[in-house]
């Protein structure tokens, strides 16, 4: 990525989740699109307020689980029927009921790994640097007890002065400009 300069966005700090949600809802209503909220614990209403309703984690998990199921069941069948047929107490080579257990475990294994790594990938993590870490009040707040709303500079409506004035209307604790 080329080094970027200038402003990443305008960051408003709130003391309570309620203030944040009201500000985010209003901003969305007023046509802001490139924005995000930062909270020290999951605040579902804030995600709803900025228009983030659905995510793809369940789909990835389903695909992962089916892949695990198919992989293990076909491996078992191939090993037991073709690669290394063994007569165990006269049981049929294709004894599918016995194959269920490992296939079941791998369904869970693949689904679980897909859920975890899929979530991280969709979130763009790991990403050790982010412009927001430059904000002086972010460090002691976003992961402890403060609630932030960031209007991003990529939004077509964004203008340094106007964004600041707009955020000031919500009576936040502070509004700071965040640079890259």
């Amino acid at each position: 990525m080329p080094p970027r300069e200038g402003t990443y966005g305008m960051l408003a700090e709130f003391d309570t989740p309620g203030d944040l949600i009201r500000a985010a809802q209003q901003a969305r209503k007023d046509g802001w699109r490139r924005m995000d909220c930062y909270t020290p614990y999951p605040v579902e209403e804030a995600a709803e307020a900025i228009g983030f309703h659905r995510n793809k984690v369940p789909l990835l998990t389903l695909i992962g689980g089916l892949m695990g199921l198919a992989a293990m069941f076909s491996l078992e069948t191939w090993v037991s029927v073709l690669a290394y047929p063994l007569n165990i107490g006269g049981r049929p080579l294709y004894s599918w009921p016995a194959f269920i257990v490992p296939a079941y475990e791998w369904t869970i294994l693949f689904a679980g790994l897909s859920a975890a790594f899929g979530m991280l990938a969709l979130n763009g993590l790991p990403q050790l640097y982010h412009p927001l870490f430059n904000a002086p009040n972010f460090k002691d707040g976003a992961t402890t007890d403060k609630f932030f709303l960031c209007l991003e500079a990529l939004d077509p409506k964004f203008d340094l002065k106007e964004a600041r004035a707009y955020l000031e209307k919500f009576q936040p604790v502070s509004v700071v400009e965040v640079g890259y």
Binding site: Y41, P42, A116
Partner: protein, 470 residues
């Protein structure tokens, strides 16, 4: 004196429900965060921690010594022989895995049931799961005799062109336990990522900032991230629930699929799972009670938690009791000579004492007293009960394995079982390893999930604005 005690008691109770409060009043986002991070971020290690870690570490060295000797000489140094070819190693394997199950139950099943009280204890219960699985997983590996060939258990394309036998419960175990270990670690780590972000932001030393910074993967608390994170957590919980039930079920198949009287029974899967959760909650109590005292966490791990865990133990204890009763009933009802003899021998044979130890520890003491709320919130008594149940559940596995094997069908094949000092060293050594790992966790990682505690605080309630500006 009496009145202040009463007042103290009243503060602990929630007026709305009459139950003990899940979190003591007066906690804020910041106070909770500081309390939990301070334990890790302080440069001084408490003396008590060092002392216990010293003991655990010393026992872990005993384990290392015994395992080294085992690798040099072979499993002949153990007490296992014919007909008792499964001794301490498998007893300990089942016992440890069972202990781990409570961690998954707390983190996954109670999450699905929206049991908010679980939040304070789920992180260290999950840590307990992982360290218990570490101890458990070691036993089958060292029991195979030639542990350097343990990779033969996996379906790998080897030059020998030999493949595993997928109809065997022992192989199912490989997949069940390895999946369980992997998913537990992933669930635990994912759960810690936001807290690592908090640790990164609050750390003073460069080393802590870098390590937590990397471990946090750059977590910044975006609500979009949180939304996916919550979905993933729920999905992982939904996946871990059938997983944990399947793991002990598969372990019980190791026994139930055999034709041996005392093993060959269909009640094993539910009875093993209930026993696992029973012993696991006992272990959570064994860990939580000293921990909350030592680190003054009574405001976060409250009497409510102790009380609720007592209730879960009561419920699972009765399922276990039903299992014991059903074993006796089936021994009579099946009209099978072998089954009846097995049961009689289990109770009154040469090792009958072990059966009565387990009945005393698992049924007589806990199931008669855990009914009392007074006793359930008596911390000293609950600690005592947790130790008793841990002992009882170990003896349950001893009874199932040894007393079924040493008197099988033909009297000419009967034998006995005596554990050797190496068996004891390895068992005690895993207790030491578990203690040492757990203490490292407590010292270096946030042991209570801060983000989940914050959600439960009154400040997290979304209040309508007093004076609407629009």
């Amino acid at each position: 004196m009496a009145s202040t005690d009463l007042e103290k008691e009243n503060v602990k109770l929630d007026p709305a429900t009459g139950e003990y409060r899940v979190i003591a009043p007066g906690q804020t986002f910041r106070s909770v965060t500081e309390k939990i991070t301070r334990i890790v971020l302080t440069p001084t290690t408490p003396l008590g921690w060092l002392a216990v870690f010293g003991v655990g570490g010393a026992l872990a060295i005993v384990l290392l010594t015994a395992v080294t000797w085992l690798f040099l000489i072979g499993v002949g140094i153990w007490g296992i022989t014919q007909p008792v070819a499964w001794g301490f190693a498998i007893i300990n394997f089942v016992w440890w895995i069972g202990i781990g199950h409570a961690g998954t139950l707390i983190s996954a099943i109670l999450l699905l049931f929206k049991q908010g009280w679980r939040n304070s204890i789920n992180r260290f219960a999950e840590a307990m799961t992982i360290f218990a699985v570490v101890c458990a997983g070691m036993f089958p590996l060292i029991h195979v005799g030639r542990p350097w060939l343990a990779y033969w258990m996996f379906p790998l394309p080897l030059s020998m062109n030999v493949w595993p036998q997928f109809r065997s419960p022992l192989l199912w175990d490989v997949f069940a336990v390895s999946t369980y270990a992997t998913i537990s670690v992933v669930f635990w780590y994912i759960g810690m990522v936001p807290d690592f972000g908090t640790m990164r932001d609050r750390a003073e030393s460069k080393l802590a900032q870098y390590s937590f910074g990397i471990a946090s993967l750059g977590w910044r608390g975006s609500v979009r991230h949180w939304a996916r994170y919550e979905t993933a957590s729920l999905l992982l919980a939904g996946l871990a629930t059938p997983l944990v039930l399947s793991v002990h079920t598969v372990i019980s198949f190791d026994f139930a699929v055999a034709v041996l009287p005392g093993w060959h029974t269909t009640i094993f899967p539910p009875y093993f799972v209930a026993g696992a959760i029973y012993s696991g909650f006992a272990m959570v109590l064994t860990l939580a009670i000293p921990l909350r005292k030592f680190y003054h966490l009574e405001g976060l791990v409250t009497d409510r938690h102790i009380d609720n865990m007592g209730k879960v133990m009561l419920a699972t204890g009765f399922i276990v009791a039903y299992g014991y009763g059903m074993e006796v009933f089936m021994a009579w009802y099946s009209a099978s000579h072998w089954e009846a003899f097995m049961m009689w021998n289990r109770m009154f044979g040469p090792m009958g004492w072990a059966y009565w130890v387990l009945i005393t520890c698992n049924l007589a003491i806990p199931l008669t007293t855990l009914w009392s709320r007074k006793l359930r919130t008596n911390i000293a008594y609950m600690f005592f009960i947790s130790i008793v149940v841990n002992i009882g559940m170990w003896f349950e596995r001893f009874v199932i394995i040894v007393t079924s094997l040493y008197r099988d069908f033909l009297p000419s094949a009967w034998g006995t079982y005596r554990a050797t000092k190496w068996d004891y060293m390895i068992y005690v050594g895993t207790l030491g390893l578990f203690t040492a790992l757990f203490l490292l966790f407590v010292r270096f990682l946030p042991m209570i999930p801060m983000s989940e505690i914050r959600m439960m605080l009154p400040a997290a309630e979304i209040k309508p604005k007093k004076e609407a500006s629009h």
